[in-house]
Symmetry: C2
Subunit: 432 residues, 2 copies
């Protein structure tokens, strides 16, 4: 219905802000996404693009020819542009670079020379710099020459003649200072500077911990290269927090809620395959005790309880440790205390639930032996869960493996194997 479409088009290019248009596109299934994207006027394409996820940016940018692409991105900030280009073929990157004036090209090339997940890849080059020996009044007049100050500018950066970073002058301080004194007298030199090579998650920790709005990025010899602003850091924080949640379920942390069926099926298949290996290992353990199960079928009925209680307890410990690592709270120095605490917690909950489960099992099967066996197996498995839940994240990290991704699979394998082995093994001894 063309009247309605006209109305949507008007809303997409006027009523809604670019960030809202991007959200609307991201919250739609693939076909509607393309339909909505094609309604965005060319003038607004760049603005909308920078709020879209990398996956979507890439798919839309690949549809454009070089001219359209250059027209869409010409008004973007250098850091946003760099993020976008990083996912495109190098021929397109060169064409965009060629279209820019020399100063912008040099800036973009500098940002592109750092990894995407480093401070250098996150920085923008739109700093306003001043010298320490000019007066506040001169600084104010210098600012008034600008037709516009970049968004998120909360400080001027004070640099030497050779661009060496000296300190910051917050706008809030500039505005309350006596116009006749020099910047040197009011600037702040005891401030946080970010090396261009710092990983972006460390940058996020600094911003979070010190309530920063923007911070200077410096290279070798403390030369000012650019600045990082809180809006880009918020994205890093969101991604980092999503990472643990998504990885623990074997999902890509930038997984798109509305990925098409085949892509989704392919990605999920891998994780199901890995977990199938775990499941077969557990089955192999059960298979060792076929004769015992044949004799006492109640064992088959109760054995999932032992494995499942171990899995739950272990994943609680694992989740706490993974979050502790992400917050930078868990390190070698306090591991001893944590391991001790988790073992004690495992022991206490082991005793509590072993008694409860033993009583229920005895009542159900009118058999005291099975109660003793399941109680012992629960105790053993909860302690194994505490031990592996605490140690795994540390070991995996030391080996360079992401604990959020590999931790839960390995943990489940351990609690399944220990659970079935101890329960059926003890049963084999008791019922021999």
């Amino acid at each position: 219905n063309s009247g309605e479409l006209q109305q949507v088009r008007r809303m997409m290019n006027g009523g809604l802000k670019p960030a809202d248009v991007a959200h609307l596109i991201e919250s739609s299934p693939p076909k509607i996404r393309t339909l909505l994207w094609n309604m965005v006027d060319q003038d607004n394409e760049g603005e909308v693009l920078q709020y879209l996820s990398f996956d979507l940016q890439e798919s839309f940018l690949r549809e454009m020819n070089a001219e359209e692409l250059i027209a869409a991105v010409e008004h973007l900030d250098i850091d946003d542009l760099a993020d976008m280009l990083q996912h495109l073929p190098s021929t397109i990157i060169s064409e965009v670079l060629r279209s820019m004036d020399q100063q912008d090209r040099e800036r973009l090339e500098q940002v592109l020379s750092y990894p995407e997940d480093s401070a250098g890849g996150l920085m923008n080059t739109d700093t306003i710099t001043v010298r320490a020996d000019i007066s506040i009044d001169t600084a104010l007049r210098y600012l008034r020459w600008h037709s516009e100050i970049p968004a998120m500018t909360d400080s001027l950066f004070v640099v030497s003649r050779k661009d060496v970073f000296i300190g910051i002058l917050p706008l809030t301080r500039l505005l309350v200072s006596d116009p006749n004194i020099s910047i040197r007298e009011v600037m702040i030199t005891d401030t946080i500077t970010i090396p261009a090579t710092m990983p972006d998650t460390d940058v996020a920790k600094l911003f979070e911990r010190h309530d920063l709005v923007s911070a200077p990025v410096v290279g070798d010899d403390n030369v000012l290269l650019g600045r990082i602003t809180i809006d880009d850091v918020v994205d890093v924080i969101r991604e980092e927090s999503d990472h643990s949640l998504m990885s623990m379920a074997g999902l890509d942390d930038d997984a798109d809620t509305f990925s098409p069926t085949l892509k989704t099926a392919r990605r999920r298949a891998v994780w199901l395959g890995i977990n199938l290996i775990t499941a077969f290992i557990a089955s192999a353990v059960i298979g060792m005790f076929e004769a015992t199960i044949q004799k006492v079928v109640a064992l088959a009925v109760l054995m999932p309880i032992v494995a499942s209680m171990g899995g739950i307890a272990g994943s609680q410990t694992l989740t706490l440790m993974i979050r502790g690592q992400a917050l930078g709270q868990v390190e070698r120095s306090n591991m001893g205390w944590l391991l001790n605490r988790e073992l004690l917690v495992g022991l206490l909950n082991g005793v509590l639930w072993a008694v409860v489960i033993a009583c229920l099992a005895m009542l159900w099967f009118k058999d005291i032996t099975i109660g003793i066996i399941i109680a012992s197996a629960i105790m053993i498995n909860l302690i194994a869960a505490a031990l592996s839940g605490t140690m795994l994240p540390l070991l995996l990290k030391a080996w360079g493996i992401d604990p959020a991704l590999a931790g839960s699979v390995i943990l489940t394998t351990i609690t399944d194997v220990v659970g079935f082995m101890s329960f059926l093994g003890l049963a084999t001894i008791f019922y021999a």
Copy 2:
């Protein structure tokens, strides 16, 4: 060793910034926490406190008498102070209120009158307001009267004589404007205002989507009440992201990595107990088929595979849906598409893994029937997993239950029951 202690004390009160001291305390086991906290000079206590988690704030504040407490908190921002007091007994709140001058008291009472997780509870009252009809030059002179402008001030708020919010004047715009024109000519009126009753997670979405540093909070009739700054929003984003991760493992989202043993054991016991009910339901289902298992023990060996594949597939769908809900992407309008996609993905992976598992089972037990049975059960369970993983979050949310907390328990119950029921049920028919 007292020399070393002296050195630590000096570092705690000089070398480290308050946020770093707070991080050090949070990353330590309970006894060392108390030791470190006692080393903080009284003058620095308030600053350090505001960076600590609520749990720790509360435990340290409860140890103080009213005078110590008032001395510690007197220099804090109103919003940080309100957050801290909200967790303390009302007698202490009244005493702090009595110690303040009238203006601060009224401001604090206003912030305390809103729920902690609303915009009103998050706001600070340290706004700088101006009238629309004064000139830029007058505004600059007015600012210079201040000895200090509050941190994170990126805009002046333009209000009417009756404090009705009219617009904002970003400092970056103030600094580049002609001093002789009036504020009315350069202020921005098409801006985001936040109602005091808005939930804090919605505030976070607005800040994230529109790259805000601060935003005005308004009450009835658009009267300006205060402002929210990005540093507090970053905390909300961090908490919100942690919430899904922690809740899915049955942990409090503000759970302290270094909680003492007994507290930890008690909290975890509840979750283990709830999951035990799930495990017993699954056992009851297996119990219905004791006779069949007695006849074909291989069923006991293979049945965990069916349940586990369903659980893994279901939790992938569930995690994706919960994150989609948190990002505001998943709503009733696109549920049809999502359900369809997940069912197709379940079907595709069902076929793939059913064939693989059937072949492995046939080879292992030299029995074609068991291959057919397990293939069918896997198919049924993966589709049940897709269906419940997609629908559960929507249903739970509609019933006012937190999907991140209850979703995984209910999902596991469904995939266990469907898995065991279909596998053992089919076996009972085939082997009858």
